[in-house]
Symmetry: D3
Subunit: 229 residues, 6 copies
């Protein structure tokens, strides 16, 4: 069951309306590395997880991503200002002005509608956790790009918070990975000779060799992690 609390996870503010910043920030509302994607990926994956501690972490993070989505949307709403005026929206998509009456919308910065094609679910916990670790890293990168280009101190503060939260989630998913790392798709790795071959198909070569020495499954160096469970 999901519940909503009208208090935002963190207060959101803007210095002043800026429709271009609003368009840019849409990337993290409805883009491939955005908050909705993160929430949907973790919720979807959780439906088949049996380990209660891991399921708990997934839902903790998923609920937080939904709460981030709410923060980002609140920021966009404030940045959109009060008057639809596409002429002032000189970069990115203009849907806020011609379609939604300045309401945030589930698209990326350029207007591509959100699609479930962004969501990766395999039913294999090792693969899903690696997907999530990568997703958190990408989300961080996008926030860094936005942080560099948006000169509104309140928005930068929000981005800073969200960026750090992606790091925290990344850490948590890696801790989960350590717990399950000898299971599922990580088992029986590299036993076949084909798993050790190197095909040199791009010329001229810069990488020399024809066999991989140590085809082990993914395993993260010990973050000796965190809360007891």
């Amino acid at each position: 069951m999901f519940k909503h609390d009208k208090q935002l996870l963190e207060i959101v503010n803007v210095e002043r309306p800026n429709p271009n910043y609003a368009a840019m920030l849409q990337e993290q509302l409805g883009g491939p590395q955005g908050e909705l994607k993160a929430a949907m990926q973790y919720i979807s994956q959780s439906f088949r997880i049996k380990d209660p501690a891991i399921k708990d972490i997934f839902m903790d993070i998923a609920a937080e991503e939904l709460s981030h989505m709410e923060m980002v949307a609140t920021a966009i709403n404030l940045l959109n200002g009060h008057d639809p005026q596409a002429a002032n929206a000189t970069i990115g998509n203009i849907e806020a002005h011609v379609l939604t009456g300045l309401n945030p919308m589930l698209t990326n910065a350029s207007g591509q509608l959100w699609t479930a094609a962004y969501v990766n679910v395999t039913g294999d916990l090792a693969a899903d956790l690696l997907s999530n670790i990568a997703a958190e890293q990408r989300a961080k990168v996008v926030y860094e790009y936005l942080h560099r280009q948006i000169n509104d101190k309140h928005i930068r503060q929000m981005i800073d918070f969200l960026l750090n939260r992606e790091e925290a989630h990344n850490t948590m998913f890696r801790e989960c990975f350590q717990r399950i790392q000898d299971t599922g798709s990580n088992r029986d790795w590299g036993v076949d000779k084909d798993a050790k071959l190197y095909f040199n198909l791009s010329q001229p070569e810069n990488y020399v060799g024809s066999q991989l020495h140590d085809p082990n499954p993914p395993s993260f160096t010990n973050p000796q992690n965190s809360p007891q469970h």
Copy 2:
């Protein structure tokens, strides 16, 4: 520049036509964890890579994924048989029978058209490599599902080969990651207090704690890897 060699990377054969197996195998031609996606992701990411050895590995693998795509499509083509007959295609999409004259098509097993939404590119090498490691792991998982359900010894042999190649690519991407792991989005990790917080948003809790102990960036345990470069 790309070149084509009419010889397949590995010979492909089938015991006998089977339109349902053809539909299932479409998943790895035009699905989110399929060969086209892999090739497109690595090619796209490579355009901005400066390190020549890493760029070389990306293009070695990308060219191999295109070659895998050709193998999977060849298998589908053989499985589709000789007569369009949707009535015999009782699972999955029926486009081979009503649209393409039994030609393989860029869709997944259920007919969803391939979309570039499957492709993740961030311009940050650490994030892109993590994306690729996860992508290879997911591709392996899907091949395992197909291996279990397709009772054609030649197709199983092909799947076995492809599955092992995904492991090899996974190993190679992790080796690249080790080389660049203190750069880009992996730098300045976890310095902010927000990166260490734990929000307990799903009740009842199974994971106890409020602070992450060791929020380091991702780092794989040494595969002490492979070819010299």
Copy 3:
């Protein structure tokens, strides 16, 4: 802020696994009249609503729709059973068997990926409420179709519950509409002569006339509604 409670809104059960029922039920997880669509539409619309009582109702319903999504996904997960076997999934999409390891996925019954194109947001409360009333009515209709075709008493019970909840939401959105019905796009209605014309463009005609008598804005007959606020 969103929070998650591991208890489902209502307990979900199945008589026995049935992959075809699972595929059918996907329609209300990731289809155009499904629970995710409803949740996303109401959350999106809420971002710009100022009236606190109306915003409250929107978020009450949105949180409930997310909770319904969780129920539907739980049911699909149980219906999918324990062994991926596309050969037994003779109707609808087969992604559970070849892609997700039996995990529910954000697609409709035939495998079309969920898209934000399903979500209507205009920033005009009258229009948005009419969208929601229509959406709830359509959701009810789809549940009626599923109820008729799924012979699993537990699933039918769940559908019955969800169907009635859509009625309740419909009632609540109409109550909201009554409160705001003289505002926004409902103002200044039909003052122009063009709003009264009837163009007879389909022959032979069955509808006689050339002018509409009473072009008033939409207004629902009094449901004399419900909770105090």
Copy 4:
């Protein structure tokens, strides 16, 4: 059978070319609340309607929406001017300049391709009519946004005409709704206790109560409508 008359439903003109206005107006050619969507929704729904008077109204309106689409496209074509020059197209999508040689295209203002995901069809007349009433209301809202932002007197005149026509269609669909309001998904409404419950899932609450008093099906207040049939 459809026929075309080279005369436009209403003459369309522009003061002068304006590529930005052209991009904005694309919203109502190929966007979710645009004319193509309206035409396709009503045509699709009509295929199973049995009541000849209602089918007639649906096709009258559908043919008119196709005719509106032609008007909007004609306006875009004139606004696009004579020379492809993306540099002058500073807001919204630039496809007219790089892809279509200034030809209108089936996208929204920001370049998202039209998708049948915009079209709602349920086979239940009550639900379909509610969908259409909502669709007409949304179309009106979008025309209001465009009217406010486009300073070309001829385009404003066209928008004014189209906006009023959406009101007329809205009136006509409500009249149809009154005729069928005790049928289909409107029957047996609210008999179940679950249809009367109120779940308070968003805190702090602004809406007090736990039970809906009068869960009747949708019914519009009498527009005492219009042409004889």
Copy 5:
């Protein structure tokens, strides 16, 4: 302006309901080579055509394609029968049973939603006509596949009619092409040395040579065509 005549272009009938045939026939309602695509492509292209005779032919054909769409949808509606029952719809998409109450829908046979990505418009008449000639040829091919697999004499008769109409349109578009063949993108063809080179990029070669002898623009052999104008 578009008008609708309730008489179908040709009477449509079925021997008996057959949900699988209905699903297959969806390919030509909402698929890439289907009637909606054809109508939308020709209507879109027509908006910028200046030659009145050519514009007339485009709109004659576009109106006919809309009329074909109506015929195909009528056939699907009859084939869908009277009771939603996904269990009997063993091939292709099942949306008619779980979503649309047996109403035809704008998808292909496997449930992929229609998208304007199918529509090609360039603003260059030579290119657009070549697109249309190819589109008509493809539409014919798909009807041949359906004709071969659908054993309902009335449906086969309808397909036969439609297939021949695509041939007629093909002839008409080629006649248009002959009229404009020295214009637009067909001018100044092959003057550059690069237009004559042959790159041998696939090995082993079966096609010998390094230079193209006669790089003229496309030109069809005289069909010495048809109606006076």
Copy 6:
């Protein structure tokens, strides 16, 4: 099997970075008439071609289109410059600045993600070749639009090269068409009376007649073509 050579097919250079030119050029990387589409269409079609000389030509061209894609992406990468700054990207999509760290991406100029809906495959060689001839003509048109609007001499030189290569491919596909023109969907053409009818459905008419005189299948005038094989 595919192989990659790190040397570009032709050297690519730019006078100076220009994010707007980069966005415009995206049209030919990830748009409907772009290089990826061409490569994917010819590769997909080739899977079922039996004639070795024709298959060879298809793969020669497909490999070249992949090589063009690499050139276009290299150009975009150079034009994107060194600092993500959406504020300087005043036309078209801004994903390079907010999502990909200036990396080229598989979208068109306005940000629409590449979709396999652009790819036409029918399994009928006559139809597929006509699709390719039309596709090459459209690709040429788009390059002409870009050539006219991009004032960078190096980019113009690249466009000029690519434009001429599309002409060469066009010539080669027409030569293939001549070889197979009495086969597949080109056989038994126009024997039915329906293939000769002309329906006058757009009024007032500009094209007079009721019967097509010479409904032959498509056949190109002799390009007396080119390399021996």
